[in-house]
């Protein structure tokens, strides 16, 4: 099977005291192995809800999510989701500890990740003493430690300033590509969507449906700076911008 996950006729309604709100109308999506796709759309359009449903955190929906039974999904959230009372190392192995997978092999894997991404010297320090970028890398290692088949990134850089954002997205992109991960990225940043993805999915405002799927055909797959300089970058930007519902 080449696709990691398939979403069929996904629909979701919210129930509030004021009434029923149609949140997601009809989403059909297929994600192939090793692919990075982005979901972009106006704020409040239910991007994060889709991730929650894929991750199995939200079970209140209609439709089918077709995936392999033992497909491992890992979630990465905004930058400050490290636990301040744990050391960097303890943070990195948190997921393994929770799921009782603290085997020798896995510990070695985490050690290697920490070494590869220049964090090993800081493993006994606490998050407070790390820069924003380093914290983000630790969060990514914590996610990778679980050896997920599918990585869900929910606005992973939105708490950062512009400079850190550029540096860290470069880091994260390289790591994802090197570890050959399949990724769904949720963002409201068009630039981020283009430089990360193989495919950008433009979502409409609520009730959410897919407005357009834009394949991003940039040859370079290693460096976000080079990807940003691609001759087609502006064309992609305009395409996405044109289809994006504006909140007015």
């Amino acid at each position: 099977m080449n696709n990691v996950i398939e979403i069929k006729n996904l629909m979701k309604n919210y129930h509030t005291k004021e009434g029923e709100i149609e949140a997601i109308k009809d989403i059909n999506l297929e994600i192939n192995k090793g692919e990075i796709i982005s979901l972009v759309g106006p704020s409040g359009c239910g991007k994060s809800t889709i991730l929650s449903i894929i991750a199995g955190l939200d079970k209140d929906y209609f439709g089918n999510i077709i995936k392999n039974k033992d497909l491992k999904i890992a979630y990465m959230l905004q930058s400050d989701a490290l636990f301040p009372w744990l050391t960097i190392y303890e943070n990195a192995i948190l997921g393994l500890k929770i799921s009782n997978e603290l085997t020798k092999e896995n510990i070695l894997y985490v050690d290697n990740l920490l070494k590869t991404y220049n964090l090993y010297d800081f493993k006994d320090k606490y998050p407070k003493s790390l820069s924003g970028g380093m914290k983000q890398r630790v969060a990514l290692i914590r996610t990778l430690a679980l050896k997920p088949d599918l990585l869900l990134l929910d606005e992973p850089f939105c708490a950062l300033d512009q400079q850190s954002r550029l540096l860290i997205s470069d880091d994260v992109y390289k790591i994802i590509k090197k570890e050959k991960k399949t990724v769904i990225l949720v963002t409201h940043n068009i630039e981020e969507a283009i430089i990360f993805s193989d495919k950008v999915i433009v979502l409409s405002k609520r009730p959410t449906e897919i407005k357009k799927i834009i394949p991003i055909d940039i040859k370079n797959k290693e460096d976000v700076y080079i990807r940003r300089k691609d001759e087609n970058y502006n064309t992609y930007f305009d395409l996405i911008w044109k289809d994006l519902d504006k909140n007015e």
């Binding site: 959230l77 301040p84 009372w85 869900l152």
Partner: protein, 262 residues
């Protein structure tokens, strides 16, 4: 280290010393002014006592062997009520957190109990428990427990939603979410409620001792009042002030240890 840095550190150190110096100076000034005013009979020493009289009273108490018994009794009551209050408060808060429905049901009753002046229950407690230590501890628990429950529960409620989501995505059990996230992220609130708890415990214990005791610092103060020995009353107050200061310091040390990295 550069000279500028050295200079900066020196300055910071000097600032600290200066603050400490003025604090000591303030105490000395206050005590000598008090002593002098009484000495020159501007203040009536019989009512206002004086540092030297207090000192003499405390030495007398120590020589008569009573002093440490009173302190021991009061400290024991404080210790028991404090530990009970914080433990029961913690456990109740956990139960409320796990069963939010229950929390909603008892919310108005907790609020009512919280704002009720607990001294009003004093006579009732004495009749139920008798004029003994049990009454004092129950009285104190009524005063410190509700506040502990409410503040720790609120701390639990303030746990970062994102982090809960993160743990859930790792398939964490409810117990794991509690022990790995909800409790550790509430350290700050728990420490704050310890601080609040210690002063409420002192209030409760002394109030209890006023009502029923035969020993303890509260008893010393009441007894001093009854025989019009105001030196004794003042000595009791001074001892209490010192005890509460020391207990508070203990919690600050605990705080620095627990919250070092946060």
């Amino acid at each position: 280290m550069s000279n500028k840095q050295k200079e900066f550190l020196k300055k910071e150190k000097r600032k600290k010393q200066l603050i400490f110096f003025f604090q000591i100076l303030l105490v000395i000034l206050f005590l000598s002014l008090w002593e002098l005013l009484v000495n020159y009979e501007i203040l009536n020493g019989f009512i206002y006592s004086s540092p030297s009289r207090i000192f003499k009273t405390i030495t007398n108490l120590i020589q008569n062997n009573n002093f440490f018994i009173h302190i021991y009794v009061t400290l024991k009551e404080i210790f028991i009520s404090f530990i009970l209050g914080i433990t029961l408060g913690f456990i109740t808060a956990l139960i409320l957190y796990e069963f939010k429905m229950l929390a909603k049901i008892i919310d108005p009753f907790l609020t009512m109990l919280n704002s009720l002046p607990k001294v009003a229950l004093g006579p009732l407690i004495i009749i139920i428990c008798g004029a003994n230590v049990k009454s004092i501890i129950l009285m104190t628990l009524l005063i410190n427990l509700i506040t502990s429950i409410l503040s720790i529960y609120n701390g639990f409620l303030n746990t970062d939603e994102y982090k809960i989501k993160l743990l859930k995505s790792m398939n964490a059990s409810n117990l794991q979410i509690l022990t790995k996230l909800v409790i550790p992220s509430s350290y700050q609130t728990i420490i704050t409620s310890l601080k609040l708890n210690i002063s409420l415990t002192l209030i409760g214990v002394i109030m209890g001792e006023f009502l029923v005791s035969k020993q303890g610092i509260g008893y010393l103060i009441v007894y001093g009042k009854q025989v019009f020995n105001l030196d004794l009353v003042m000595s009791g107050i001074v001892i209490l002030a010192i005890i509460s200061f020391i207990l508070y310091k203990f919690i600050v040390i605990l705080e620095n240890k627990l919250l070092k990295h946060i």
